[in-house]
């Protein structure tokens, strides 16, 4: 392994890793927003909202994220949507991971014991109050770890935007292979950086989970 080469190029990889972090943060935030909205829709008492929520989830889980990304970035201009590669990456992957997060959130909400809502409603709390004060605080605790799994998948999933030339970690590795002909070193370096990002994120999620855990 060419250590000298790695030491020479790694500052560029660090910069690219920052883009990967940025992409991860933005896609996860968008995913959380989409997920919360769609989970609320799926649990709504209105059939039309439930249908829309379910359609979103099956659509996004039924097509490869890469195809959706291509559709948005390459196909978008055809229907009047003009996005930069970075924007398309954030929006495409955010909407995509949101579908998985929808199911995570919905699963956590419905796994809160039904007796909890009954007790709250029996005291005279409204549906909304019982959700806000009783169901949600318990569901949030339950969803931290499974959302962590979604986030882990999403960080790795940001590599897809290399296919539309966003200069992040995977794209950078590929570009340096073009000039150095050293794929092992380049992918090794990129892999290490992904590992660091994911490990740190995982630790943060465990920390949060422990912080809010009940006695």
């Amino acid at each position: 392994m060419d250590i000298d080469l790695i030491l020479r190029v790694y500052p560029h990889f660090l910069k690219a890793a920052l883009v990967t972090v940025e992409l991860s943060v933005l896609t996860v935030l968008l995913g959380l927003v989409c997920g919360a909205a769609a989970a609320a829709a799926r649990l709504s008492r209105f059939a039309i909202l439930r249908f829309i929520g379910a359609a979103y989830v099956s659509l996004m889980r039924g097509i490869p994220a890469l195809i959706f990304l291509f559709l948005l970035y390459f196909g978008g201009p055809q229907i009047g949507i003009q996005l930069t590669a970075f924007q398309a990456g954030v929006i495409g992957l955010g909407i995509n991971i949101g579908a998985y997060m929808t199911e995570t959130m919905r699963g956590a909400i419905i796994s809160v014991d039904h007796g909890q809502a009954e007790a709250a409603r029996t005291l005279g709390l409204s549906q909304f109050q019982s959700f806000r004060k009783v169901i949600l605080p318990q569901a949030m605790r339950l969803m931290i770890r499974p959302l962590g799994v979604n986030i882990n998948a999403q960080i790795k999933g940001t590599a897809l935007v290399a296919a539309i030339s966003v200069v992040e970690l995977t794209y950078t590795a590929q570009r340096y292979i073009g000039s150095t002909y050293k794929p092992f070193e380049m992918f090794f370096l990129a892999g290490i950086l992904y590992l660091i990002i994911i490990t740190v994120t995982g630790k943060m999620i465990s920390f949060l989970d422990r912080r809010v855990r009940l006695p």
Binding site: D113, G115, Q116, E118, A119, A120, R121, T122, L123, G124, L125, S126, Q127, Q129, K133, V134, P137, Q138, R141, L214, P215
Partner: protein
């Protein structure tokens, strides 16, 4: 309230799950301060009837009235919600499995609803929690979480939580069935205390001796109907119906067996 208006009035209560008729035209009145036990075999519809009183399990047809006001009104969604939330504030309920809120301390379990629904300040709510918890002998555990309590303690907190809303009526659905035998008594004592304070109570129970010692009236249900009702002395000692006799034979035998 005139003499003629019963405190709780259940009229022609009928409930079916698909083809299964769980309640068959039940008529029942309870007067203010009365303590009524509902007994009967498993699946006879006791819980369904109790949960119909606060419309947790809505009836298929029939009416439930509290002080002459219909609880299970048919209204458009928003109006129904407003109405039922108002009615439920007057009807406390205690569940077999306690259903305490695990993310809240004992204090917060008791104060949440009064704060939200009656706009109590923190100081007022704290005072209320202290009073109610003292009443059920749980003052020392006020800042514990439910998971740190025994079953009997949990149930006493659940009773305090219901009482904090100052209900007119309390419903108990097998409040002691999930408890270890040695923890049953502490909950029974709290319920006895409420009885002495003339709280109106409807108690679904499997404990015949408790029903006999605390309740003014016993209702024996089987197959979705009220088979027999009367003062405990009559229902337990001189039942007239064959089904009641059979049920009591089994249960009193069990009781005799378990208390040996």
């Amino acid at each position: 309230m005139t003499e003629k208006t019963p405190f709780v009035d259940i009229r022609h209560a009928q409930k079916a799950y698909g083809d299964l008729e769980v309640l068959k035209d039940i008529n029942l009145t309870v007067s203010k301060g009365e303590i009524v036990a509902i007994i009967g075999p498993s699946g006879s519809g006791k819980s369904t009837l109790l949960r119909a009183i606060n419309d947790l399990d809505p009836l298929s047809s029939g009416e439930v009235l509290l002080e002459g006001v219909q609880v299970n009104k048919t209204l458009p969604h928003r109006q129904y919600e407003k109405h039922i939330n108002e009615m439920r504030q007057h009807i406390g309920m205690v569940f077999q499995h306690f259903n305490l809120f695990p993310h809240l301390t004992v204090r917060e379990n008791v104060t949440m609803a009064p704060k939200l629904l009656k706009g109590l300040s923190n100081a007022e709510a704290d005072q209320l929690a202290e009073e109610q918890l003292a009443h059920v002998g749980m003052s020392e555990r006020i800042d514990y979480y439910p998971s740190q309590l025994s079953g009997g303690q949990k149930q006493r907190v659940a009773i305090a939580r219901a009482l904090a809303m100052k209900p007119k009526l309390m419903l108990f659905d097998e409040a002691t069935s999930a408890l270890d035998p040695e923890l049953v008594e502490e909950v029974n004592l709290v319920m006895k205390k409420l009885a002495e304070e003339h709280m109106t109570m409807i108690i679904v129970t499997h404990e015949m001796d408790f029903a006999a010692s605390v309740c003014d009236r016993v209702i024996f249900m089987d197959g979705g109907v009220v088979v027999e009702e009367g003062p405990p002395s009559v229902v337990f000692q001189n039942p007239t119906q064959e089904r009641t006799k059979n049920f009591l034979r089994k249960h009193l035998a069990q009781y005799a067996e378990s208390s040996k």
